[in-house]
Symmetry: C3
């Protein structure tokens, strides 16, 4: 099959993809030793990273082949497919705390760790780097809006009323619709009416050589199924493994799941930074964060009515709201100048370290 | 009476003013059917909108005739006369929750709805619009200061002490004096020592043809009395009507009263935006918000010692503080570039919609 | 002794230093009337101000003589020596509330009062003043990071877990190490890798004539001992004096101690502003605040394990966190343009007045 050649070449040249060999190992281990939670947890992480990389590459290839407008739309909706599939697996299992921790964690990880490491990697090679600040401002504004949506229940005059379940669920559906609508209008703004403000850099440029459309579509379909199957095993094992490793559930959801889900984007963002193409890195980091906040999270809320055991609300525990608010403000402040040096990366990473350390040190007995 | 001609011409050309015919209907209905709260509520709104428009026009005419410095001062103190009169009626009735909801609502409505709709209206006609960002920054800084003043009780080391009534009232009077003083110094800064930074655009330019001074002063006096009388009926009926319509008191105070009180300014702001005079729109929206926060609200606190049943404090319920803080930060961020496009308006309106929806969905049993 | 001549000339020319005569009076009074708390409180303040001025001058002289890199480091670590010694005295006495109030107070006083008064003093003489905004941005970013560190415990999913003492102390040590590390990297960034961005203005320029190195070192050593001895008397008397004067402990820690500790820097900052050298004023005010937040405070936490009766945590009461957050955001917003006029100073001072008034009016019975 000559047409598979580009896919195989891709796998041969990208060391991360060698880990695809772990995928069958996960399934075999799951059948033979279903109670080996910590092992399954480690294996499923090792399998998800190369699958996410392949999925990301397939999405970009499809986007690159379908022209600008459709391509932009595909990237904008499927760019966080791995995160979406993992969250869907947790949603079906009714693990809403994990779903929310992974959403909040993805936003925090993208705006602080991915962006900060990009600035640091770029800054260690180049004295000062510039990027399109209008684009960064659009994404941080969207993130700010999503944070306000999550803060909404705190504005009611009488907190006891806000606890009403009907109110919470009506509000969550309403807010989800508003966020998806704003996300759609934001795409119209950046891809259509004011595209000249946002430069030429997009996700699609990251891929060196796009796969042919047929291969890309087949890869997209096949890998999606694999990610879904591995995610289920990951979700099953994560809680037990966390206990065994002495990690708090909040740390696992916030830090581990978010790093696993975003591994593919991080590779692209860091590569962009080290090639002095910081527009690409900032676009991936902030674009991915705003996509999760304004598209993935609200879609999960709406889907919970169809596939979840009970409806899921859009409300997070106060600490998650504080983290998202701080991350958004930090990203807003650090990107408002459109200029970066290594210390800007250090500052972002320090905020991330403060969060990670706090969640790591927390006594694991709770929650 | 030839001298009344400009006033009559004004009324003939402005469709809103035809609703002045509702004014006598309100008074007659109040006498014949004092218990028809919902009807009186609707009629008093229909009467307040044209009265506010006329009042605003009369204020501007007086300001235009009295020269720059005095005119600026008149606009700065009487620009929100309608809001002030409505709030005074609620103050005399001892309805402090409604007074505070309408103050907070006016600030939120002006910074999010009026500003956002102006950006959207302008942005749908013009690709990108510029305005004086120094002026916007002054107003948002003043708003930020007022929000900090309202946050003051949250800084005390021991929350139980902050609940002391003496402390609350001494603090409220002190903060009110500070805010009015800052507002006065802000006028000196923008109208006198650094006026060159703030461009030429002011309220007075909004009126196409100013009324002669005599007519304007007579209108100002007469309409003020009418607004006061209608406001009393409005305040009497609003609570009952809200119950009958299934609206929460918070929604009525925050959204309905604020939209009614600001109708006249909105008309001017939207007209400015559609004529590519965004300086005017931003000036009206943010100037009006900061005037309410730093002048109207503290004046009401001080007046409550003279005309209210008990002194009113400057402290708001936490949700109102959160809304004012978010509105101020949103306005600060979106106006810091001095440049606008339609999507900036969408973002501001979405924040407003999040607030309005949350208050609307709240179960009405409470408070 | 000819070599003492510059020090004596310095004392003769600087009126503040005449108050050095109060120093022996403090020690004599302490021996003769140890129970005269209010008198000792007043005398120790009168002695600390000239000592702090001398200490600051000696530090700058040493820095000026040792070359750029070492000098920058000396200024960066010993610039707040007076605050550090006073806090150490309180730490040894186990008065952790006072230590924390004076840390938070120093940050708030420097960012609001010192910066605001500099802008006002400069603005009354010059129409508009410019300064290096990159430098201001670095310092406010560091302050923002420190505030996030102090906010860290609020991000945990389960507040009851955060109350655990082990967690609090492990987290405090971890955060302290992170902050000191970031501070050190910030020095590398501003003094070494990107020094060209930060202009030429530094602390050392403030002194008109540096003392010879030998005299400066001897002064540094001798005055440090004197400050330590007077600080002990100050800390002993402050609580009783506050009660006698009807001041709340929060007001004393936040306002009085902070103003005393920062008197020397304020003199330099105000002198810079009135000579149109606003870079110097902004550098002293914000540099000093970030030094206290990222160096003095974490060092005190780590030292408390060695010299305090029990370990001190890095956690502040919520009101102090709110004040530090507001101060940081206010400084960030007002310095983001790199341009100032008198009203900017008024705004900063008003925020300070709001805080001071709130703490002053608080009923003194509590805490």
């Amino acid at each position: 099959m000559a047409s598979l050649a580009p896919l195989l070449r891709e796998i041969r040249h990208n060391a991360v993809l060698w880990f695809l060999a772990v995928v069958p190992v996960v399934f075999v281990t799951r059948m033979l030793r279903p109670e080996a939670h910590t092992l399954l947890f480690a294996l499923s992480i090792a399998a998800l990273v190369p699958l996410a990389t392949l999925l990301s590459h397939a999405t970009e290839s499809v986007a690159a082949k379908t022209g600008d407008a459709a391509g932009g739309l595909i990237n904008a909706t499927l760019g966080n497919l791995t995160e979406l599939i993992i969250a869907l697996a947790a949603l079906q299992a009714g693990q809403y705390t994990l779903v929310k921790a992974s959403i909040a964690g993805a936003i925090v990880t993208n705006t602080l760790f991915m962006l900060g490491a990009s600035f640091l990697i770029g800054g260690l090679k180049y004295h000062v780097q510039d990027y399109n600040r209008i684009s960064a401002r659009l994404q941080t504004s969207l993130l700010f809006l999503a944070t306000i949506a999550i803060l909404a229940p705190s504005i009611v005059p009488d907190a006891s009323l806000a606890a009403s379940s009907t109110f919470t669920h009506e509000l969550s559906v309403g807010l989800s619709v508003l966020l998806i609508g704003t996300y759609a209008l934001g795409l119209v703004f950046s891809l259509k009416t004011h595209r000249e403000l946002f430069g030429a850099s997009g996700h699609a440029e990251a891929g060196e050589a796009a796969l042919p459309l047929g291969i890309a579509l087949a890869t997209l379909g096949g890998v999606t199924v694999l990610v879904a199957l591995v995610s289920e095993i990951f979700i099953e094992s994560v809680q037990q493994a966390a206990l065994a490793l002495g990690l708090t559930p909040a740390f696992v959801g916030f830090i581990v799941v978010a790093l696993v889900g975003g591994a593919a984007e991080m590779a692209s963002a860091f590569a962009g930074a080290s090639k002095d193409r910081l527009d690409l890195s900032v676009g991936i980091a902030l674009g991915s964060a705003s996509q999760i906040a304004l598209f993935v999270a609200p879609v999960l809320v709406l889907l919970s009515y169809a596939i979840g055991p009970t409806p899921m609300s859009l409300l997070f525990w106060p600490g998650a709201v504080v983290m998202m608010l701080i991350s958004t403000l930090t990203a807003f402040f650090t990107t408002s100048s459109g200029r970066s040096a290594w210390f800007v990366g250090v500052l972002l990473l320090m905020v991330y370290l403060i969060f990670a350390m706090t969640l790591y040190l927390l006594p694991p007995a709770g929650q």
